[in-house]
Each structure stands twice: as C-alpha cells, then as structure tokens.
C-alpha cells in the first residue's frame, strides 16, 4: 500500500455531515478526508451508518447539515447524477449490470462510441472501437478474459464484480482525480475471487483514485486499506492508519466496547 504523502490535497472531504430521518439522527457530525490514491476502509456494525454515509456521498440523500468538498470545491449533490459528474462513482452491491448484454456494452453504457461520418449521425455504433476500449480498460487493470462478446450473466461472481469496478473506474479516470465508493464488493464471493478483487482495488488506487471501501470482511480491509474509519451509531469512533490498528481494537470500536479514539484524524 503506497500511501500518498501527508500534505497532498484531499480528493474528497466531509465536514460535519449530519443526517436526520425525521426524529432519528442517522449521522452525527462526520468528518473525513480522503487523499488521491488512498484506500479508506469504512467499518461498522449493521445500522452504524455506513450505507447511509455512502448514500450521502453518492448523491442519493442530501445531508441535513455539513459540507462535502470534491478536489477542494464545495459541492451539493441533488441527485446521483450530480455526484457521478463530480467524479464520485458508486459501485452498488447489486452491481447494476445489464445481464443480457456483453462486457463491452456494459462498460460503455452511456458513453458509447459512434461511427464516424453520416452513419454516426444516425446513431450507428462503432462496436469494434467499443470492444477495443473495453479490452484496453480491463488490460490496464491487469484482467484478461477470453471474449468481450459474452453476456455478462455468464461470468463468475468475481468477474462480474471486476466488470462493475472497471465500469466505474473508467468514469473516474481522467484529469480530475475521482473517488470510488465500494459497497460490500466481496459479499458473495469465494476466497479466490476476493483475492482478485483485492488486487483490482490496489491497482485502482495506484492510478490515483480515492477509494472508500465498505465491508464486513476485516481481513480484506486490513489487506487493502491505508486507513480505517469506524462508525458506531452514526458517529465516527475511530480514524486510524491500518498499520497502527490491531484487530481487537477495531472490533472493540465496531461493537462499541472500546471507547472512541481520543485524537480523531480529520
């Protein structure tokens, strides 16, 4: 894990995020900074607020109070599209893949390549170009599959996860550093496939993409994350570099048996 130097400007910053559901306060004053290329593991028990925080970050929920900054600029997300355009891409647990279509179609969904010339005006696709772009993208992630033209439903769980990750990665790569939000990416995967996804996350981080990883899988978190943030009942109770944390402490923070960290890293 290559940590970005301390002084690097954060790609994503949360300041005092609150969220009320009627009388219930789901999030209390969450502060967090993510630097480009940093992988932050977001841990917590069920109901701790991890998914809620992801929803806020992905634009699905507006926070009741607080501020979000992307690359230093304050942003307000009215809907998921705004977040996506600002460079925050969420990879959902259900992957949101179109099972009946092939890898290339899924990867290029929404940004298909059209043919040059009059055929392009009529909307004709340049399928070869799309296929090449998809192959390029997967290759750069160190993944090769036999063919681009198989429907995605025929892939194994791990491969589908890879496709979903690759699709979101394609959208955050560019001049503007982006953030990927991963919601339980290895929940349904076996050991081997989890390792594959682990490698993929590292590779994406190497590109300079900030990654927030929500997971119940502690070993995975410890393996890929540079930092670990623990939520408990909507509050941040720990924000610590992975190498400084030990498993017992983490579990203690998650269950609430351990007191919140004194010096919470901003």
């Amino acid at each position: 894990m290559v940590r970005p130097p301390e002084g690097t400007a954060p790609v994503l910053e949360l300041v005092g995020i609150d969220l009320h559901y009627g009388y219930v306060k789901a999030l209390h004053g969450i502060d967090c900074k993510i630097r480009p290329g940093e992988v932050v593991g977001l841990l917590g028990d069920n109901g701790a607020g991890k998914s809620t925080l992801l929803k806020v970050l992905s634009g699905a929920h507006k926070p009741s109070a607080g501020m979000i900054r992307v690359n230093g600029q304050e942003v307000v997300f009215s809907r998921p599209r705004d977040a996506a355009e600002a460079g925050v891409q969420m990879v959902y647990q259900d992957l949101a893949l179109v099972d009946s279509r092939d890898i290339a179609t899924n990867l290029c969904l929404g940004r298909e390549t059209l043919r040059k010339g009059p055929l392009g005006w009529l909307g004709f696709l340049d399928k070869k170009a799309m296929r090449r772009a998809a192959e390029r993208e997967l290759a750069s992630l160190g993944v090769t599959t036999a063919s681009m033209s198989h429907p995605v439903e025929m892939l194994s769980g791990g491969q589908r996860q890879v496709v979903a990750l690759a699709r979101s990665a394609m959208r955050v790569t560019g001049s503007q550093r982006g953030v990927l939000l991963l919601d339980e990416p290895t929940a349904a995967l076996g050991y081997e496939q989890t390792r594959q996804v682990e490698e993929l996350i590292k590779r994406l981080a190497e590109r300079g993409i900030g990654i927030i990883l929500v997971t119940h899988n502690l070993p995975l978190c410890v393996a890929v994350a540079d930092r670990i943030v623990v939520l408990n009942r909507g509050r941040k109770v720990a924000d610590i570099a992975t190498e400084e944390a030990d498993n017992d402490a983490i579990v203690g923070w998650i269950t609430g048996s351990k007191a919140p960290q004194e010096q919470l890293a901003g």
């Binding site: 599209r81 009946s100 969904l109 929404g110 036999a146 063919s147 194994s156 769980g157 349904a188």
Partner: protein, 361 residues
C-alpha cells in the same frame, strides 16, 4: 440474445503479464455450444421440419409457390404486429393497446383517402396515429403506473375513438391502397415487402445503433441504465412509440389488403402476435430476444394454419396445435437456458448459480 455475429469460441487465453491478475478463461466446451445453438436456432429447425412434414401430408397443394406466397402474406400481417409486441417486450413493457391503435390508424387512413387526399398523405396520416398513441401511453406509464393496466385503458379509449371517427361504420372502397395491399411484386404479395422492410430496419436498429442498444439495456435492467447516467424514461417512451407505430402500420396494411377499414379492433390479431413472440422464446422480463426469430414464429403459426386449411381440418385443431407447440417451445427454451447456465457455472459457488438461473428467466 440479439442476433449479433457468431459468438467467439475457445479463444486462447492471453499470456498473463507478470504480476497481473490471473483471469478465468471462458472456454466453450462443445456440449454448451450445441445447447446454445439449439436454444437460438431451434425454432428455425422446427419450422423447416414442419415444412417438410406438411409438404408430404398436404400434398400437392402445400409445397407450391402460390401457397408459399399465401403463407408469407398471412405471416407478414401477423409479423408486423408481432414486431410491435416485440419492441415492447424488449424494452420491458407489455402493451395491449395494439388492436385499438390499428383500428384507429386504419380508419384515419380510410377517411383521409375517401376525402380525396393522395394515397401517401392518407398513409402518413394513419401512421402518425402510432407515435401519438405511443407517446400518450409512455407519458402515463412514466408517472409510475403499470403498463398493462394503462394500455388496457387506452385500448378502451381507442376503441371508442375508432367508433366516433368512423361514425360506427366501416370505411369501404379503399382500392387506392393497392400498392401496399392487394398488389404483388414479382408474384410476391405487397404486405410481405412491408413486413420485410420493417424487420430489416428494426433488426439493424436494435443491434447496431446506440438507441437500440440502450433500449435493450433498459429492458434488461432499467436501474443499471439510470445509474450509468442515461435517461431510461427516454427509451421507455421510444419503446412505446415503436410499438404503436407498428400497430398503426399493421392496421393500414390490413385495411389495404381487405380494401376496408373496420372500427372494431381485432383481438385475434393481438393474440397471434403474442403467440409469435412467445414462440420465438423472447422472455417477458425484457432485454433479450431476436426480431428475426419473431418472424419465424409468425411463419410457424401461419404454416400450421395453411396446412390445416388445405386438409380441411377443423379450425380449432389449428388453435390447439399452436397452443401445444407454444407450450413445448417455452418448456424447451427454459430447459435449454438452464442447461447452458449450469454448464458454464460449474465451478461457481452455489449462490452465484442461483443468481444466474434467475437471470436466465
């Protein structure tokens, strides 16, 4: 699956660069290839077998050029409506207002023609009914209502409308529409050309254009499309408009063939169209299917009908036979899909297996 070029088989795995993630190779063992072939082209094989069987049973009249043109003609009319149903199902909707749109379109064309306008104007006027009805259907459904219920409602409205516009009487004497109705070119009836053109354009649209591919994706998983930043509503509207335009075209072609436009919608036409789509193995969940196979479905229905008429068998046997065939085709398609899925996911954990089985429906 849409009818794209043949799937790649057994492509050699690329040499994995050092340190790269070892990807699982998707091989194509022979049993799977056979099963996929059976699932995709089984209908055509069935039809060819039927032609051979009927040529012997209903000889000598069945296997003649004239009879072929009759089957093609009947299939063409069914196929135009079946294309409409197919566009809807592929987008993930079921539109039952087809017969109403067909009736209104036929009446509009008839009335405009009778009033003295040129043929092309009359046809365009009738065709215009399609996108209008489709837009109305789509806008209402996008407000969050069930397409089935909405289109049943619009069917009622259109039925009434057809009666009102026509004054309750059929519009007769539409001989001027002969170019797309009663004429034959190179001894092939005009409606066949209309249907052929529709299917060629439709297939190209679905498989080769951005609009088509997005529409299919919306049918497969509308949520995924939305999350990719594409407006799924736009493609729902497009789907509805395509359905109704096919219905309008069908209504006009029938009026041309029969030289009379009737204000009463024909539900039997919708039934045949649905059967053709179901025979083609298109899942009602949406997002996958092949337009050319729908055409084969329509041909199969009319082939059976033709043979039975020639042999003088009671008409209800035709219905029974079509129904039995439909059930057999659905069961076969389902077993083949599951068999393919099982073969490919041999090494997957059990959870994934279940997920793929569901995807195959």
């Amino acid at each position: 699956m849409t009818h794209t070029s043949t799937q790649d088989r057994d492509a050699p795995a690329a040499a994995t660069p050092p340190g790269a993630v070892a990807a699982r190779r998707i091989g194509r063992p022979n049993p799977v290839s056979v099963l996929v072939f059976a699932r995709d082209r089984g209908m055509i094989v069935l039809w060819v077998l039927m032609l051979a069987a009927f040529s012997i049973w209903a000889q000598p009249y069945f296997a003649t050029f004239t009879n072929a043109t009759l089957i093609a003609n009947a299939a063409a009319i069914t196929a135009i409506f079946a294309a409409g149903v197919a566009f809807g199902v592929l987008t993930g909707l079921l539109d039952l207002s087809l017969p109403g749109t067909a009736a209104v379109a036929g009446i509009v064309t008839g009335k405009v023609l009778i009033s003295g306008a040129p043929v092309l104007v009359a046809i365009l006027a009738g065709l215009a009914v399609g996108p209008i009805v489709g837009l109305a259907n789509g806008l209402i459904v996008l407000r969050g209502m069930n397409p089935l219920v909405v289109t049943i409602g619009t069917l009622s409205v259109l039925t009434g409308l057809a009666s009102v516009i026509s004054g309750g009487v059929p519009v007769d004497g539409l001989y001027a529409l002969h170019a797309i109705g009663t004429d034959s070119y190179f001894r092939i009836p005009a409606p066949v050309f209309v249907a052929a053109a529709l299917f060629v354009v439709g297939t190209i649209f679905l498989t080769k254009t951005r609009g088509g591919t997005r529409m299919l994706s919306v049918g497969g998983n509308a949520e995924a499309v939305r999350r990719a930043g594409v407006s799924s509503s736009r493609y729902v509207l497009l789907g509805f408009m395509l359905v109704s335009t096919c219905a309008a075209l069908g209504g006009i072609v029938i009026a041309a063939f029969v030289t009379s436009a009737a204000p009463t919608p024909s539900t039997s036409v919708l039934f045949e169209a649905l059967t053709a789509v179901a025979l083609s193995g298109m899942p009602l969940s949406g997002g996958r299917g092949s337009l050319p196979r729908v055409l084969v479905g329509a041909l199969i229905i009319q082939t059976i009908s033709s043979a039975l008429v020639i042999k003088g068998v009671q008409p209800y046997w035709s219905t029974v036979l079509t129904g039995v065939l439909l059930l057999a085709a659905l069961i076969a398609e389902r077993s083949l899909t599951v068999a393919v899925a099982n073969r490919v996911v041999e090494q997957k954990p059990a959870a994934q297996k279940a997920a793929v089985k569901k995807a195959g429906s």
